[in-house]
């Protein structure tokens, strides 16, 4: 099957892919952890400092106006990326983790009372788990967990048991970072809505595989990170329904999130600025804008076909190798695969692969409950992005054979 787009041309736009590691060409298969950046993003970040090196929202001089214009333009880009109703619902954060903490501490504190409950799932990344644990401990609420089955799918039939009239928040990942499971978010949101619970979607893994449509999903909050969508680290987006954002308190206090400050009383700025205190990661946001534009210019359907081709090639390859067990067999899966090699600790697999220039992630992937469910200390995870190739899959295969050779 021919590539649905010019993969060579795409790869040439990512300078980091040309690296040589331990004398081998880099085979980068750790995209679920972070992605490489295209030249347009690198240029946008550099240009932000060279051509618009000023603070935002605070000056009348030309550079400040330029910085503000470039920064604020990204709100509209993010709105379009998520198909959000308004760019005033786009809050810039330092990433998905901060976004979820924001919702937990802001909406969570005013909405969750003693005796209430918050529902999450067994497959959540720690960043969509710990903030809710902290909230429930603080508010004397119960944390309820929707379990997964041995395929790595959510046991949806358990959800009506967990969601009840005292459920205030339902938080779930769109795609699992350790199993690749694509969750039926719409169904979950519908059930949450029946009891009036807020819904929070962790979209960190889903955003790069897009497109995301928060209106179609029906959720109240959606969060993702810039560095996983070919943008810089230290920046992310929280989309929130305006009607809710206007009723919840700010999360951080400081400059920019206020209209007026005095010791007698301070008035807060309007949404979304109410939630953005202090000088933001200006260059990061501008880089994020370039990344979202880059991604949107590519054809999402073509990306999906390409990634699914790599995924099925990888699954076939792993299945055909004796002694290799794929962890999780979800019904719908993004291009993320966790596996283990019989008799070889995942870290040893990772080191041998590293010596062959193959970068995978080994460990618990910030999903310790998932590891416990499958009774493994850790897994090896390969995850793909638009710039990966079939040769990458072949090199992974060759490197895995080497692992088995070394540890035979």
């Amino acid at each position: 099957m021919a590539h649905p787009f010019d993969i060579g041309s795409i790869r040439s736009q990512f300078p980091a892919l040309g690296a040589v590691v331990h004398g081998q060409p880099l085979t980068y298969l750790d995209n679920a952890s972070t992605t490489q950046k295209p030249t347009v993003v690198l240029d946008a970040i550099r240009d932000a400092y060279v051509q618009a090196g000023a603070n935002v929202h605070r000056g009348v001089h030309a550079l400040s106006a330029e910085a503000t214009a470039r920064y604020e333009a990204v709100r509209g880009i993010a709105q379009a990326f998520l198909n959000a109703p308004s760019e005033k619902e786009i809050i810039f954060t330092s990433g998905t983790t901060e976004a979820i903490n924001l919702v937990a501490q802001s909406a969570g504190r005013v909405r969750v009372a003693p005796g209430d409950n918050v529902v999450i799932t067994e497959m959540e990344h720690h960043s969509n788990l710990v903030p809710w644990q902290m909230l429930c401990a603080e508010r004397q609420a119960q944390l309820r967990v929707l379990p997964i089955d041995d395929h790595g799918d959510l046991r949806l039939e358990r959800l009506p048991v967990l969601i009840d009239p005292r459920t205030r928040i339902v938080a779930v990942s769109h795609i699992s970072n350790s199993l690749g499971t694509v969750n039926p978010v719409v169904d979950i949101v519908d059930q949450a809505k029946e009891v009036g619970a807020l819904t929070v979607i962790d979209g960190a893994q889903a955003a790069p595989h897009g497109p995301i449509d928060v209106q179609a999903l029906g959720c109240d909050f959606y969060a993702f990170s810039g560095h996983k969508v070919f943008g810089p680290t230290g920046v992310g987006v929280l989309w929130g329904r305006r009607s809710i954002l206007e009723t919840i308190p700010p999360y951080k206090g400081g400059g920019d999130m206020i209209l007026s400050v005095s010791f007698e009383g301070t008035t807060y700025n309007e949404v979304p600025y109410k939630f953005e205190a202090g000088t933001p990661n200006i260059a990061g946001v501008i880089g994020l804008g370039a990344a979202l534009r880059y991604l949107s210019d590519l054809d999402f359907d073509a990306i999906a076909l390409h990634e699914q081709d790599l995924l099925s090639r990888t699954l076939d390859m792993l299945d055909s190798m004796p002694g290799i067990r794929i962890i999780g067999e979800p019904k719908y899966r993004a291009a993320v695969v966790s596996f283990d090699v019989q008799g070889v600790h995942p870290h040893d697999v990772g080191t041998v692969l590293d010596l062959e220039g193959v970068a995978v992630r080994t460990g618990h992937h910030c999903t310790q409950p998932v590891m416990e469910h499958f009774d493994v200390p850790a897994t090896v995870r390969a995850s793909f992005a638009v710039y990966n190739t079939r040769e990458d899959v072949d090199r992974l295969a060759a490197a895995l054979k080497k692992v088995q050779g070394v540890f035979a």
């Binding site: 070889v344 600790h345 995942p346 870290h347 040893d348 080191t351 460990g363 618990h364 200390p377 850790a378 070394v406 540890f407």
Partner: protein, 142 residues
């Protein structure tokens, strides 16, 4: 470090991993400790038989990666027969030698076998876990 040194280290690790020295438990034993690396799930147990301040016998068990197992095995061969104080000094020296700016150990140093783990900075904790556990064992009393 050269490719040869890297290969030599890997051979050494594999040799100790496949045929570890002093693996198992000690009965009787005078000292023991368990060590965990929560990041990766490695677990080490060290048993000692100390007489007159000297490590007369030592045994280890490891659930974890090859480097953790091999390091524990190599450690037992280095400290067996030495005094508790000597063992502690060796442990401190090893930790120092693994710091990024440390000079390499001379080839005849008893810890030279561990030098190669510097090639794998993300794995140094796997290598030092057994030594940390040894120190805790020396501090314990059964």
């Amino acid at each position: 470090m050269t490719a040869d040194a890297k290969a030599l280290y890997q051979q050494r690790v594999m040799a100790h991993y496949k045929a570890p020295h002093n693996e198992g438990t000690l009965d009787p034993r005078t000292h023991e400790a368990k060590g965990d690396n929560p990041l990766c799930g490695d677990r080490v147990t060290v048993h000692l038989d100390l007489r007159d301040g000297r490590i007369e016998a030592i045994a280890f068990q490891v659930r974890g990666c090859a480097i953790a197992k091999a390091s524990a095995s190599m450690m037992t061969t280095v400290v067996k027969g030495r005094s508790a104080d000597e063992a502690r000094r060796l442990s401190a020296r090893l930790r120092e030698s693994l710091l990024p700016d440390s000079p390499p150990l001379p080839d005849d140093d008893p810890l030279a076998a561990f030098a190669g783990v510097r090639l794998f900075p993300t794995r140094t904790r796997c290598a030092t876990l057994a030594w940390e556990t040894l120190e805790n064992a020396l501090d314990s009393q059964r």
